[in-house]
Symmetry: C2
Subunit: 258 residues, 2 copies
Amino acid sequence: MATGRTHRPATRSRGIPEATVARLPLYLRALTALSERSVPTVSSEELAAAAGVNSAKLRKDFSYLGSYGTRGVGYDVEYLVYQISRELGLTQDWPVVIVGMGNLGAALANYGGFASRGFRIAALIDADAHLAGRLIAGLPVRHADELEDIVEDNQVSIGVITTPAGAAQEVCDRLVAAGVTSILNFAPTVLTVPDGVDVRKVDLSIELQILAFHEQRKAGEELSEAVDSVTPPVAAKTVRGGIKRPGSDGDLPAVMPA
Amino acid sequence: MATGRTHRPATRSRGIPEATVARLPLYLRALTALSERSVPTVSSEELAAAAGVNSAKLRKDFSYLGSYGTRGVGYDVEYLVYQISRELGLTQDWPVVIVGMGNLGAALANYGGFASRGFRIAALIDADAHLAGRLIAGLPVRHADELEDIVEDNQVSIGVITTPAGAAQEVCDRLVAAGVTSILNFAPTVLTVPDGVDVRKVDLSIELQILAFHEQRKAGEELSEAVDSVTPPVAAKTVRGGIKRPGSDGDLPAVMPA
DNA sequence: TCTTGTGAAGGGGTTCACAGCC
DNA sequence: GGCTGTGAACCCCTTCACAAGA
């Protein structure tokens, strides 16, 4: 889902699979909870359960980081927390800017896990001059005109976009031009960025639509449960190949603009 | 990332790959935009560009739905919009409840794409009695005590959890007990659900941490750029195997509670 | 004995490249 | 000539199952 990065063959060894990287934060969270409860060691089985994955996957994931466990015993919690944090780059503070101070932007600014260690909100930015100066989560909103200065002055490399869809690409372009190389996009648009810039997106309506798909499936199965495997693929599949456009202009469903 | 569902071999044919399902909303969005501009047909190349994927992937994806294109011409926009909407189950309105009316919950309630066709907010719910009755996005907040009644009365099958992490599992359990079978979780916790229930999660800090990982990588490459392939994998890899726990209790980084 | 670390097998998804059809 | 639909190759990820080691 990320993009950009040339990902050259990684001059040997340094190749942690993307799927593994995506799970490290999950392990880290589980380990942090154990750490707070002063649990000294944990087995792959226990930790996997806490993270919601299976233990073989977890062990394989950790094997990319090195041999950090002890056979017959398990993993040292504190040590793993440190190693994963380091691997994820959380041993330093990343300054981030949030652009777009609507409901969502404000929600993120107030989100605890955000302002906590590893990330620091360098500035909140909005294009609305009326918002400028207002405090959100204790920080003053800065006007969009200042975007470039803020990014450069604070050496910001990570930007979060929470603007309306229409403004997202322009904001993205400006962030990138000013030096940002990683973007987390909450606006429902496909962003175009130059090579070397990573984009990750969080899209509410896509998630909901995926759930709707499975939900519909369930409802369908319930019905065919009794019949099942008795009736053939029914004539329901009238469409396909020949007929085409059974009601292309008539019974069109209302579709989300999202 | 979804879970639950037994996903039986799908009595022949009905098997659309999960990866394809996840992209259908993207295609639908691009197609809707074309539809609004009254574009009649579109090629796989054009549509793929608009959706941010490559054309071979798009054609393969569409092939799972059926043969909806015309060789030498392209795809009929309106027709595809209809077919994808139907496939995703958006030809009906899904009532959803949002539980947890903090900043994030309020943001979602106000989010346009949410309330638009395909999904309908059946209720906003919060455990804080002080919030009860207050209007958010034009809807009154209902107290958590009413959760079960709301779900049953409105036949809600999709629930969105925007509570603090500590409350998420309990809310989830109650939703499921009341009949919800799909959950979109914004709380930073792993939810445990019975078979047959789908969970998707949206996790801000995980996304940021993944970006930080790649960002760190970039910074490292910049340095080794000049040297590159001249120096061997350096002694930097002091750790590994032998030594163990170089500073397990000393220079521990501050780690996010995530 | 217990649990990690990992080759090897298996499964999905992506990409290629071209046959099929307009 | 142009574009779709799709077998086949390829690649990545997951899972299995067991050797290695505390």
